[in-house]
Structure formats: C-alpha cells, structure tokens
Amino acid sequence: MKQRLKAFFTPVRIFALTLFACIILALISIFSDTVSQALRTGLDTVIVPMQKGINSLGGVFYDHAVNLATREELEQQVTDLTGRIEDLQEENQRLAQDAYELSRLRRLYALDEQYASWPKTAARVIGSGSDNWDMEFTIDKGSNDGMRVDMNVIAGNGLVGIITEVYPNRSIVRSIIEDNSYVSGMLSSTGQICSVQGDITLMESGQIRVTDFSADTDVKAGDEIVTSNISDKYLQGILIGTVRDISADGSQITKSGTITPAADFENLQEVLVITTTKADLTGDGS
C-alpha cells in the first residue's frame, strides 16, 4: 500500500493536486470569508508579537539616528518655530473669540453633539501590506481594544484612511491614497461636494485625485478639502488635504485635479483612531 501510494505521488501529480487545491481555496474564499478569517486569526498569534518586537527594536535605532541630527538644523528650526509661535499666538486669540461665539451659536442650534470632538485612541503602525500593489497597513489594536470596521483613522491633522478589517489583536487600515479608495469630500470654504479617489499612477508622488467638482465651483490651488457631510463612512470635517492643481474636464461639466494629502504617508508610525463611526452618529448600524 505504501509503495503504491509512493508510486502514485509523482511530482507532476503533486503539482496538479496542489494547483487544484489552490483553485478550490480561491473559489471558497470568493463565496465565504470563513477560511481566510480562520487562517488570519490563527497566524496572528504567531506573527503580531514578532512584528511588534521587531518594530520596537527598529524604533530604538530610529530614535538614535534622529538624535544625531545636526545642531545647525535644530537651531534653524528653533528660530523658525519662535517666529511661528508668535504668529500662532496672535491667531489663537482671534480663534478663541470665534470659538466662544461659535459655541454660543451652536447651543442655539443644538448642534453640540454632532460637532463635539470625537474620542480617539492612539495606535502604532506595525506593518504594511506585504505586496507592492496596495497601501493597506496594519495597526496594533484590534477588536480586543474596541476597534470596529469603518472607524476613521487620522494622523497629525489629516485623514489617513478607514479600518476595513478587524482581528483580535490588529486591524487593517485602507489608506486614502490607495487605488480603490473613494472618499466624499467638500471644499471647506464653500461646502461644494467632490470625490477624492486614490490613484496608483499618482501614489509615487504622494498625491490623490479629486474629481466631480461642478464647473462653476470657485476652487483654486491651496484650498482645503475636508470630508463631506454626505459621506456615509467618514465623519464630517476631517481635513483630507489641500488642492494642488485643478482644471476643467473635457466635458466642461466638471472640474478635476490633484490634492496633496495633509497626512504624511511616507513616515506613518503612529495614528489616531476615532472610536465613533458615522453609523453611530446617524443611528443606523450597531
């Protein structure tokens, strides 16, 4: 029996059987997520601790390298920043007055809840997609830390992406510069709606595409784009980026162009996850 089994398993037959198994696996995962979910959860117990460990090791070296930055650079920065502090103090005073007025007006309109600052939790980026074709990345918090699908992720003051998959100890974030990402945005000054789409041909230069501005929109380079009020996944008013260039489309019905994102995707190490989802605010969804 053993002999016959051995005679049956020639390399060609093993090859054919493995390919067949791969196709079956693909077919199963088209129709249900259970296999891939189970595999991922199982592998996570091995891989996430290893990734975390290596990342913290890398962090030590990185910090050391940063400490070695030249003195002149730092001094230059100090002078620059002192100048900026003065500007900002002045601006801050003005804004404080505005904020006071705003809160008074909001109370009048009973809009407090919708605009209140959202609860956030910090997470560390522990890995990026293992292939060259997408910009997904992994953060070190999962369902055990209260992460849920569709939570918005920001870094600095700009939108980074949205959680698409959640596992016990980690979550996958799809960034807004990824090719299949779509965000409904609006011009912060006038509220004109537009679409913000990632594009692989622009990924290299760190830009994202903005389309569907109506032709009469008064938009120019430097204008800020924020997430719109009509988006069903993204909370309203998160800064996406600033318009880099814009031009009318061939049809003369719409305008499109590119945006420089506010978040720095090159050096993404720590991100903030907003633990309120749009579904929570609108009341549909759990």
Binding site: F9, P11, I14, T18, I23, A26, L39, L43, W133, T138
Partner: protein, 176 residues
C-alpha cells in the same frame, strides 16, 4: 521532518522581513518580493516537490496578509517552485546564473499576474505606466534581493540538509 520545520521557519522569517523592513527600502513605492525567492530557490536546491511545498506555504502566507484573493499567490508560487525544480533539474548545484534568470522571470510573471488581476480585469490597462513604473522595477529589485540572498540561503540550506541527513535533489527524486 526537521528539514520541513526549518523551511517553515525560514518562510516566516522572510515574511516578517517583507512586512517590517521592506517598506523602509521601497523606491517610489516598489520593493522586492522576498517571499517569491523561496519557491524558486528551494525548487532549485531540492527539486520540484520541495519547490511546491515551499511555494504553497509562502503563497498562502502572502495571500492571507496581502490584498488579493486567497489562493492567487499560492497558485503562482507553486507554479514557480515546480518550474524551477523541473527546468533546473540537470543544472549544476554550484550554478548561479540560471536560478537568477528564473528569479527575474518568476518575478516578472508574478507582477504581470497582479497587474492583470487588479487592473486589467477592472478595465484599466495603462500598459506603459505599469510596465515601466511597477512591473519592471519590482522584477529588477527582486532580482537584486535574490542576488544578495542567494548565497546565504544556499549556505544555510546545505547545513540544514546535512543536519537532517538529506541528500541533494537526486535523492529527493528517488523519494518522490
């Protein structure tokens, strides 16, 4: 058994390096596909069955953590492992040029397949951009990684083979 365990550990090590370190050495968004090297190398070192074994494990790992459909990379990696084992069956073990040729060919086919699955099927062909900015750079980068890693992996493999009491690929051929 001990030898298989070593292969599994090596696959995990390559995977961790791929996800943690490769993002830092990407050039304009393109990095080497380290996991792809393993089936090609092991197909050459140990014959087609070895290539298939390493290919299916590395491929499933790449699929589970990558964005594509589960089974796509596994399918391609198995093909590369088998191809490497079969085509290089009679090539001297000391040879360097042929496995490298096969590495760059596999990388090229893999990236073409990714382009096909992710973009051509969605009616976004744009061949000029994808060939010059994604497929060729990634293939060459993978080749560079292959050149750098070939001798360390071969040296380690020979040690492990000796420790596990396994012969070269001719031995394997009789077994299977």
């Amino acid at each position: 058994m001990k030898y298989r365990l070593y292969q599994i550990v090596l696959i995990f090590v390559f995977f961790i390096v791929q996800t943690v370190f490769v993002p830092f050495i990407r050039v304009s968004g393109n990095g080497p596909e380290l996991l792809l090297l393993l089936p090609v190398f092991f197909g050459f070192f140990g014959g087609p069955v070895n290539g298939i074994f390493v290919g299916v494990l590395a491929g499933i790992l790449a699929d589970v953590y990558g964005g594509t459909l589960l089974g796509t990379s596994a399918f391609l990696f198995v093909c590369f492992g088998y191809m490497s084992g079969k085509l290089l069956e009679n090539v001297e073990q000391e040879e360097f040029f042929f496995p490298m040729m096969l590495t760059v060919l596999s990388a090229f086919l893999y990236e073409c397949a990714m382009w096909f699955v992710l973009f051509v099927l969605h009616n976004r062909i744009d061949a000029g951009f994808f060939f010059t900015r994604k497929i060729l750079p990634i293939s060459l980068y993978t080749l560079a990684a292959g050149i750098a890693l070939y001798f360390p992996v071969r040296c380690l493999d020979r040690k492990m083979r000796a420790a596990a009491g396994r012969g070269g690929k001719r031995n394997e051929k009789h077994l299977s």
